[in-house]
């Protein structure tokens, strides 16, 4: 009897040990997972492949999202990776397709990139359209806009656009990167 009593606490202890071990491993994996997500969610990682660095990054450096009077900069993930976790993880999984094409060398020369550019741009435009330009609105909230401080043209267009439920990308295409060649009239969604 006394032996049983001795054994019971011991197995109890080992259960706790196993549980603690799992807990520790969980923290480690979860932490590592988030570390990996964060490590692949910055500009340095994005332009570590020449496809990005030599094409779109170069163009972006001449635009207002890179260099502007207020000194606020939007880097690649600010516009191209959703902030909310559930959307971010979906985008990260989709990015595995981009890795696959990186290994295949689908756009590894400027010519190949230009050839695919219209298709790639249309993908981004339709994604932006379907999310109501969610990534733009992380910073640009029209409820916070003082229209009277905008230029007369911006004032006019914004008021008309917002009242017609237009989304940012409808008019603001090619603002951070060059527009692709071969755009058709259907690609121009800025009509009122």
């Amino acid at each position: 009897m006394s032996q049983d009593q001795d054994r019971a606490p011991r197995s109890f202890r080992s259960q706790w040990k196993i549980l603690g071990g799992f807990f520790f491993l969980g923290v480690l994996f979860w932490g590592g997972f988030h570390w990996a997500l964060a490590a692949t969610n910055n500009e340095t990682f994005c332009i570590s492949c020449h496809e990005m660095k030599d094409n779109v990054y170069k163009e972006y450096r001449e635009t207002v999202h890179y260099y502007n009077p207020s000194g606020v900069r939007a880097t690649c993930p600010d516009c191209h990776v959703p902030k909310a976790w559930q959307h971010m993880i979906v985008r990260k999984i989709q990015a595995s397709n981009e890795l696959w094409h990186k290994f295949k060398g689908t756009i590894d020369t400027p010519e190949k990139f230009e050839g695919k550019r219209l298709e790639l741009a249309r993908n981004v435009w339709s994604a932006m359209k379907s999310t109501d330009s969610r990534e733009c609105r992380n910073c640009h909230d029209f409820k916070s806009m003082d229209f009277t401080r905008q230029g007369s043209r911006a004032f006019d267009f914004h008021e008309r656009g917002f009242s017609k439920d237009k989304t940012c990308i409808d008019c603001h295409k090619g603002i951070a990167h060059s527009l692709p060649k071969g755009m058709t009239a259907a690609d121009d969604t800025s009509h009122f």
């Binding site: 635009t63 603002i175 060059s178 060649k181």
Partner: protein
Amino acid sequence: MKIRLWLIMWAALVIVAVGAWSGVAMAEEVRTLRGAVPLDGADQAPEMAKWMPDSHTLPRNYLQQPPLIPHQIDGYKIDLRQNKCMTCHSWAKAKETHATKVSLTHFRNRFGTELSDVSPQRYFCTQCHVPQRDAKPLVENSFRPVDAVR
């Protein structure tokens, strides 16, 4: 004979002297925009001028003057892929954007052929049409617009 030679030499000397003196006088009057700063010296940077705020059609000073751009065009790209100006000033868009339509003359190429879109030779808007900065004239200017446009 000797006197004649002397006279010619004196005349030449006088001409050279007068020429040199007037040259010096001219150099004093005509100056570069750098002023008296020596070529290898550091000139003072000119004051920064801001773009004029958005406004409406600016007056023209002469008949053939390309209309000025009465708004900022920062970051507007005009290249092989895109012409930002045309997103408002094209015939397709001008009505809904309340912008000035691009002139019909711009559809004509150098052979006088009428094209269906802006002629390549008139494609680069900012070659002739320019926005305005709030800058003081660098030199005095007595230009006055012709009566026809006043």
